[in-house]
């Protein structure tokens, strides 16, 4: 019996009143018994007729008495229970709770991240299971309830933001939902719901938030601190969460990254595109393994023009592996004109992975192919002979380095000689990729500003220190214009002044190169720098990020001393372009660098590396779920379509229709409307030529290992009070059977109905023709009249009354 009571009745708000009501049931019972015991005797002559009538009506009278007694006991009991405000569970509580016309707002949050694409049975995905649960939750809505639907996949958002009670609309919206390719962003979804609560659109204590997801590690739940202002559980409402699903092993191509975004090729030997592919595996057991990887180049028609296959090896315990590939570029790629380039897509795809997800087995990148690199060398037109330079000016040294003699006809670099005075015409900078400033001391401030604009637009301004013995007045306007944060001495320093007694020299530092554009020189760097000496330079102190090459000081004893992080080659990003400075002059009095083998590769790699360092304005990379800003370079956009990729080795495996992004044009250029959902390569047509949008799967989305449920529960504690969803019967979690419902008011209504019923029944059973009957209310009425009148109780029409 106690178990039954515990099952039916949740704790009372005021249990003492419930017990009092139970005890007070003794009052009507006692009155009933006393009324039988203490009745006044009435001598009676016509007893035979009374006995006869009594025998006829005995059963009916007993029934009436018990009925009235039962009603009165119920009234007292219900009064106590109602005042105790019981929290009822079960069907009755659900029914009584439904009398509350205000209802609840149920927020159904569905994780539509990529991990839910995993199969969870024959032909069924985890996402299908989540939708089934959501439908069950919707079906369990009660009268007065309304619901909203939210996506938790990044970017989180509303599917149905306005609460509606139309179940058909809610079900239809659920059926139309598809899983995405991003990672979950549950905090963002909850923040949206919390903000909506704060807007007063939902009564907090009547809101129910249901989180449906597989809750893999891809979401990085536990690592994310939660915004306390986004609480949706506890006092803010009821939070119900589905249990995390079991984990799966998965391999994901994290990224494919070309070494340079711009690749210059010549017409004869073609070229190679260097790229690095990073592959991650997510598994509890990280044994030694390898997977096969195919890297392909895809042209604008979606054809594979070049491909190679590599194996990626994982050592035991290794979760992320990288592989560098040099993809040969076919020389028949001939649509490259002198100025424009072609954008090729690099696609890295894992082959025949077992288990896990397939959408993350591939990644994309884009690289621009160029045949010509236009470089302006700014120097005095008339060369002058200095020392043993045999008449070569710094500009000539650089020009020779850029276009070695004998291969002019096939060289990718086109050198344009420009005098400092000619730079006063800004049109001279048009169609140039880089400007090599041999004589910055001959420039005026407006020219510096033009050069800054040139760099902002993506060009390279490489300043070479002029071989002047005096001070360097050009430093100030340069620093003022570009503001790189460097410290440059105006007076050149010589080796003799620094270390005259030691008789040593300055040389390029042999420490590992940190500058990405110079990575190709890393293998031969030590050999190349060995003969290089520097005799004179301008003092240059730059942040470590800007210093590409340092100087070491070698003393006669053979010891090497660091020169106090004195940089000789510095780089600084300016807008989409760059500013570079060589702190020594291309002059044999200052350094023997121009005469050494290092000079040519250093100039070339620096030039190509810097120009290929930044994303091209025509190529935008994004992650599925992002809403990238395409910018002004995409002005005049007329079409943006996903490139269908085909080929022998490349197959598309997309299980749903691709929705091409929509866009609007604003002051800041082209802006997409909504996030990009499907990964892939989107080809755009603009007034300025073709553009490319590369969309990859979220690199975090492939981690499908099982989350630590205990840690996850601890994380959920930060959201307020919550409970698990009943996976067997999701609707039961929402029904008020599992929810405490205060039915005090409902019981008061039932009590009122019982009082009325008792009055009617007692009135009917009293057989009275007029006046208050024998009901409780009738007796109270009579008692009130007696109290007011001061009369003694009337003798019920006794025969002997006068």
């Amino acid at each position: 019996m106690q178990a039954l009571l515990a099952q039916v009745l949740a704790p009372f708000i005021a249990p003492a009143l419930a017990w009092a009501g139970l005890a007070l049931v003794a009052i009507p019972v006692g009155i009933h018994l006393l009324s039988r015991w203490r009745r006044k005797p009435e001598p009676w002559g016509a007893m035979r007729f009374l006995v006869e009538a009594y025998r006829k009506q005995k059963r009916r009278m007993h029934f009436e008495q018990w009925l009235l007694l039962l009603l009165r006991c119920l009234i007292v009991l219900l009064l106590g229970l109602a005042l105790a405000r019981p929290l009822l569970v079960g069907t009755l509580g659900q029914w009584l709770g439904a009398l509350d016309s205000q209802g609840r707002v149920v927020n159904v949050v569905i994780d539509d991240a990529m991990s839910t694409r995993a199969t969870d049975g024959p032909g069924v995905t985890r996402f299908d299971r989540l939708i089934d649960k959501a439908v069950a939750v919707i079906d369990s809505l009660e009268a007065g309830d309304r619901a909203t639907i939210w996506r938790a996949g990044r970017p989180a958002g509303a599917v149905i933001a306005e609460p509606t009670a139309d179940r058909a609309v809610l079900r239809a919206a659920l059926k139309q939902m598809r899983p995405g390719y991003s990672r979950p962003d549950l905090p963002a979804a909850l923040k949206l719901i919390s903000d909506r609560m704060d807007d007063g659109q939902a009564v907090p204590d009547r809101s129910v938030t249901v989180l449906l997801g597989d809750f893999t590690r891809s979401a990085r739940y536990i690592e994310q601190a939660f915004d306390l202002g986004s609480q949706v559980g506890g006092s803010s409402g009821t939070l119900i969460v589905s249990r995390p699903l079991s984990g799966l092993d998965n391999i994901q191509v994290l990224s494919v990254k070309p070494r340079r975004r711009v690749v210059w090729i010549d017409g004869l030997s073609g070229g190679r595109i260097a790229a690095e592919v990073r592959v991650a595996r997510y598994s509890e057991s990280l044994a030694e393994a390898s997977v096969s990887l195919t890297v392909s180049l895809i042209d604008v028609q979606g054809r594979s023009v070049s491909s190679l296959r590599r194996r990626v090896y994982f050592l035991a315990g290794q979760s992320v592996a990288s592989v560098s590939v040099d993809i040969p570029v076919d020389t028949t790629v001939s649509r490259l004109d002198a100025q424009g380039g072609e954008v090729l897509t690099i696609r890295a795809q894992l082959e025949s992975t077992t288990g896990g997800l397939t959408p993350d087995d591939q990644a994309y990148a884009a690289v621009e192919l160029r045949r010509r690199l236009r470089v302006a060398v700014v120097d005095e037109q008339a060369g002058f002979l200095v020392g043993d330079n045999a008449g070569l000016t710094p500009g000539q040294w650089v020009s020779l380095a850029l276009r070695p003699r004998g291969i002019d006809q096939v060289g990718a670099v086109e050198v344009v000689s420009v005098t400092p005075a000619e730079l006063n015409d800004p049109s001279r900078l048009e169609s140039l990729d880089a400007v090599m400033l041999m004589r910055p001391d001959r420039l005026f401030n407006p020219v510096w500003r033009e050069l800054a604009s040139f760099a902002e637009a993506g060009g390279l301004v490489w300043v070479f220190t002029p071989a002047n013995d005096g001070s360097a007045p050009w430093v100030s306007p340069m620093l003022d214009t570009f503001n790189p944060g460097w410290q440059i001495g105006l007076e050149p320093v010589t080796l003799d002044e620094v270390d005259e007694a030691s008789g040593g020299s300055w040389s390029f530092s042999g420490e590992p190169l940190s500058a990405e554009p110079l990575e190709r020189l890393a293998a031969d760097w030590q050999a190349l720098i060995r003969p290089v000496r520097v005799y004179r330079r301008l003092p240059l102190v730059v942040p470590d990020a800007d210093a590409w090459v340092f100087l070491d000081q070698t003393i006669l004893s053979g010891e090497v001393e660091r020169s106090g992080r004195q940089a000789v080659l510095a780089h600084h990003f300016v807008g989409r372009g760059s500013l570079m400075l060589l702190s020594t002059a291309v002059d044999t009095r200052w350094t023997n660098l121009p005469t050494k083998p290092l000079f040519v590769p250093l100039v070339h790699e620096t030039l190509r590396g810097v120009l290929g360092l930044r994303d091209r304005p025509g190529i935008v990379s994004a992650v599925a779920g992002d809403q990238p800003a395409l910018g002004l370079a995409w002005s005049g956009l007329s079409a943006l379509d996903r490139l269908e990729v085909s080929g022998d080795l490349i197959t598309e495996e997309r299980d749903d229709a691709v929705v091409n992004p929509q866009w609007v044009v604003g002051e800041s250029g082209v802006q997409l409307v909504g996030p990009v959902v499907s990964p892939g390569v989107y080809q755009a047509t603009t007034d300025a030529g073709p553009r490319r949008l590369i969309v990859d799967v979220d690199p975090q989305a492939g981690d499908m290992r099982q989350i630590d449920e205990e840690a996850f529960a601890h994380w959920l504690d930060g959201l307020g009070e919550w409970r698990w969803l009943d996976d067997e019967d999701p609707g039961a979690s929402l029904r008020r059977t599992s929810e405490v419902a205060d039915i005090g008011w409902a019981l008061l209504w039932v009590l009122l109905a019982l009082v009325l019923l008792e009055t009617v029944v007692a009135r009917y059973l009293s057989h009275a023709n007029a006046g208050p009957g024998r009901s409780l209310t009738g007796r109270l009425w009579r008692a009130g009249i007696r109290l007011r009148s001061g009369d003694k109780p009337a003798n019920g029409g006794r025969g002997r009354a006068a």
Binding site: P43, M47, R48, Y54, Q65, S766
Partner: protein, 338 residues
Amino acid sequence: MPPTDAPNYLDPRTLAAIGPIDLRARMIVEGMMTGMHRSPMEGVSVEFAQHRQYTPGDDTRFLDWKVYGKTDKLYLKQYQKETNLDMVVLVDASGSMRYGSTRGTVATGSKRAVSGMSWSKYDHAASLAAAMCHLALRQQDRASVVLFTDEIKTATRLSNSHDHWRTIVSALSSAESLEVSEPGESSSGDNPGAGRPPGRTDLSRMFDQAVARLNRRSLVVLISDLFDDIQTIERGLAMFKFRRHDVIVLQTLDPAELDFPFRSPSQFLGLEAEGRLNLDPQALRSSYLEALQSHLDQVEQVARRFRFDYVLLNTSDPLGPALSHFMARRDAGIGKKR
């Protein structure tokens, strides 16, 4: 306080204040006489009634010799003596007759009503019987009173002597000393009506005993509440009819018995030891009245079938109508005998 208006003598509420029955009876008779234009005491004497021709075998003592001398024919003289009325009043003195709601408390045996203000059914019946006997004796009719409960308890002889009035009044007064059980003593409330204690109405034996006593045609006045089986009543009246007695049935009931006005739940105690009964009277009122009315209808129907007079007396009503009825019936009975 004595009444100032003679007709008030017939009001039970007035009579209830008068203790002795003989005094009550005289006041009733006086009340009856007041306002009458002609005395009802006519023709009650030994005088000539008629002549009839002599037939052989007739008693020669009643030959009218004067007529024979004149007409030479033999005629017999018939006298008034044959027209004298014998009236027997059967008064129910059972326990149920002690119930009275008109005033005061119930008159139960020696526990007389407080201040003598109650008016029980027996009071009503005794007063009526005394008044009737008084009237009969004043007209030289022979009268007798029989008190009965479950059997005849007291019976006076038939007489028209003047002193017989004292005997009748004494008999009626002695009814108060008849053995009557306390209410509800003999059985529990769960078994009402069990057993037949003394003082309970038993008309069957009474009828047998009364018929055996009456060897002449008489006017029988039955004053009772008749709380017995209708078959018993019918059998008793049939016996009177068979013996060619004339019967006046005066069924005497208290107004509370006729209306059952109780409201509060009470414990009803049977006055004839039927036990006690806890009940809500309002729930049973209609059923009770239905049973009572059925009984009354049956009694009246039986009386009418035997061509007996039947009058239902409410003890709260004046006694005049009942006495008038008696007087009319007496005259009619005398007429028939002539």
